[in-house]
C-alpha cells in the first residue's frame, strides 16, 4: 500500500511539474528567508552580546541610597561567594586631589576610592598595587601630574596618599583612565559596589538574589544603576527577535497562500485526472492524501535545498546555524506544504466528478 501510494505520489509529482516547481520554489524561498533572517538576527545578537560583554554589560552596580550604610567588606565577601560572580569591587565618591610634590593647584585631578579586587578592572603598567591608604594613578593622570615614574603623592585638603603604581584600565572601564584610584581601609563604608557575573543570562536572577540577601529590610534603598547597558541589550535583542518573528509570520502566511494557490490552480487544471481516479475507484481520502503527501514531499525537497544554500551563504559570512534549527525549519516548511495542499484537495475532491471527467 505504502509503495503504491509513494509510486503514485511520484507520478503526480512528475506529471504536475508546474505545481511541483512552484511548491518547491516557494518552500525553497521560505526556508532561505527563515534561515537567513534568523541567522542574521542571531549573528547580530551575538555581536551585540560580544560588544556589551566587552563594555561591561555583565556588571551590576548596586548603590546604597540609605543612611545606614549596608555595604562593607563583609557584604562584598558575601556577594563574591556567589558561584556566578566573577569578581566584585567597590568604589566611593569622586573627590579632587592634586600632586602634592609639585603643589601645583592647576593639576587638580579626580580620584575614586575603592575596595576589593581592582586588578580585574585595571592593569598595572608600573609600580605595584596599593595597600590601604595608598593610591595608583592612570597613565593619563600620570601624564597630567608630570610624573616620571610610579611614585609621588596626591593630596586633598585634609588627606594625602602615596602613589605606588600606574595603571591602564580595561576596555569596559575606560572612565577610570581619567582617575586616580585610592585604596580605602575596609572599615570605611562604601556607597556602592560592582559585581561582574560570568554569564550574561544570569544577570537578572543574580541582581534579584543579591538585592534580596544584602538588604532584607530596606530593599527600596538599594538601587541598581548599571542595568542601562543590559536593558539596552535586552531591548535590541527583543527588537531583533520581534523583527524575526514578524518575518516568520509573514513567510508563514505567504507560504501557505502561495502553496494553496499553486495547488488549487494545478488541481483545477488537472481535474480530469482526479475525475478519472475517482471513476476507477479511488476514494476522496486517497485523492486528498495524494495531494497532501505530494505537497509535503516537494516542500521537503525545496526546504532541504534552501537549507543547504543558506548554510553556504552564512558560511561565507562566517556565520553558522544550529543543525537542530535547520531541521526544525525544514519540518516547519513540510507542515506548511501539507497545510497548503489540504484546502485545495478538499475543494477538488468535492467537485462533481462528472464535470471533472467531461472537462476538456
Amino acid at each position: 500500500m505504502a509503495r503504491k501510494l509513494f509510486s503514485e505520489i511520484w507520478l503526480v509529482t512528475k506529471r504536475h511539474i508546474g505545481a511541483t516547481i512552484a511548491i518547491a520554489s516557494i518552500s525553497f524561498l521560505m526556508t532561505l528567508s527563515i534561515v537567513l533572517v534568523f541567522g542574521e538576527s542571531q549573528a547580530s545578537i551575538q555581536n551585540i552580546r560580544d560588544f556589551m560583554d566587552t563594555n561591561g554589560a555583565k556588571t551590576i552596580q548596586f548603590l546604597d541610597d540609605s543612611d545606614i550604610g549596608y555595604f562593607d567588606q563583609e557584604t562584598l565577601n558575601f556577594v563574591e561567594a556567589f558561584d556566578n560572580i566573577e569578581y566584585s569591587f567597590e568604589t566611593s565618591t569622586v573627590f579632587d586631589v592634586f600632586n602634592s610634590l609639585t603643589k601645583d593647584e592647576i593639576n587638580l585631578f579626580p580620584a575614586k576610592s575603592f575596595r576589593g579586587d581592582i586588578s580585574k578592572v585595571v592593569q598595572l603598567v608600573a609600580g605595584r598595587m596599593p595597600k590601604a591608604g595608598e593610591a595608583i594613578i592612570s597613565e593619563n593622570a600620570a601624564h597630567g601630574f608630570k610624573l616620571v615614574g610610579p611614585t609621588g603623592e596626591i593630596s586633598s585638603s585634609n588627606q594625602s596618599w602615596n602613589v605606588v603604581g600606574i595603571f591602564k584600565s580595561d576596555e569596559a572601564y575606560l572612565d577610570f583612565k581619567n582617575f586616580a584610584l585610592i585604596y580605602e581601609s575596609s572599615t570605611t563604608p562604601m556607597p556602592y559596589f560592582y559585581s561582574k557575573v560570568k554569564e550574561y543570562n544570569e544577570l537578572p536572577t543574580t541582581q534579584t538574589l543579591i538585592l534580596n540577601m544584602i538588604s532584607p529590610f530596606g530593599r527600596e534603598d538599594i538601587k541598581i544603576l548599571s542595568k542601562s547597558l543590559a536593558s539596552l541589550q535586552n531591548t535590541i535583542e527583543n527588537n531583533l527577535g520581534s523583527f524575526a518573528n514578524y518575518i516568520l509570520i509573514l513567510v508563514l502566511f505567504l507560504g501557505i497562500v502561495l502553496i494553496t494557490v499553486a495547488t488549487l490552480i494545478d488541481a483545477f487544471l488537472n481535474q480530469k485526472d482526479i475525475g478519472r481516479r475517482r471513476a476507477l475507484g479511488a476514494t476522496k481520502i486517497y485523492i486528498s492524501l495524494l495531494m497532501i503527501f505530494r505537497g509535503a514531499l516537494v516542500s521537503t525537497v525545496g526546504a532541504t535545498i534552501g537549507g543547504v544554500v543558506s548554510i553556504f551563504y552564512l558560511y561565507f559570512y562566517y556565520l553558522s546555524i544550529p543543525i537542530n534549527f535547520l531541521v526544525a525549519v525544514i519540518i516547519f516548511v513540510l507542515i506548511i506544504g501539507s497545510l497548503g495542499s489540504l484546502l485545495p484537495s478538499l475543494i477538488i475532491i468535492n467537485r462533481d466528478p462528472l464535470r471533472a471527467i467531461r472537462t476538456p
Binding site: M1, K4, E8, L11, K14, R15, K272, D273, G275, R276, R277, R278, A279, L280, G281, A282, T283, K284, I285, Y286, D352, P353, L354, I357
Partner: protein
Amino acid sequence: MVVSDLNFSYTQDSPTIIENLNFAFPKGKITVVTGESGRGKSTLLFLLGLFLKPNSGSILIDNQETTEYDDSQKSLIRSNKIGFAFQDAILDPYRTVIESVLEPTLYRVESNRKINKEHDGNYTYQVENTKTISPLENATDIVSSKTINNSHSVIKSYQEIQERNFERAIELLKRLKVEVELNTRTLKISGGEASRVALARALMNDPSIILADEPTGNLDSYNADIILATLNEEASKDKTVIIVSHDSRVVSIADEVLNLL
C-alpha cells in the same frame, strides 16, 4: 442492477432529466441505452456508476440499496463491481499502456487481501473474485506468528497479486488485440488503441457491471468490432453490460434496449 422510481435533475431549478425511471438491467445481457441528445443517457450511466446522487428513487446493486452509501462505500463498489469505459478513453498520458490497464488495481485496497482463518488453523490471503492465491505456513501460535510468518507472507502475497494482476492485464490486452509495446506512453497510441486500452482498464478488476459510454463513437469498424465482441464476451460471463450509444452496430448486438424519451 435495478433502478426504481429514479428521478434526477442537476440542480433544484433545472429541468428533470431522468423521471420516474424503472428498469432492471439483466445479468448476462447487453442493455443499450438510446435516445436523442439531452435525454439523459450519459447522466443515467453516471447515476448507475454512483457518480451522481438521484433526487429520489433507488439503485440496487446485488440487491443492495446504494443511493445512501457514503464515499468510501461507493468507491469500493466502483473499484470492485463496476467497470467504466468513458466516451473519450480518458487515459493518463503519463502512464504506459500496461500501467493504464493496471491503474484500477491501485485503488482496489480493501479487497486485495482478505485474511481468512481456515478450520485447520491456517491463514490464507484471498483476492476477492479470484481464487485463493497464497496459503500461509502453519500458525499454531497466532501472536508469535504474526510478526514473522505473516509479514513474510504478506510480501509473498503482494508479489503474487502483482504478478497475477500483470498476467490479467496482458491477457486483456491480447483479447482486445492491443499490439503496441507495453511500455509505450498512452499519449503515443492511436485513438482506436486508446479505446481498447480503456476497455481493458475497465475490465481489469473483473467487474460484474460494465458501463460503457459511446464505446464505438469515432471508431472505425475494425476497432468497433473488437470492442463489441469483447463486451459480448463479458455479457456471456453472466455480467451486466450497459452501453450508451447511438451507433446502429451497438444496437444490433443489444439484448435489451432502453429508449429514453
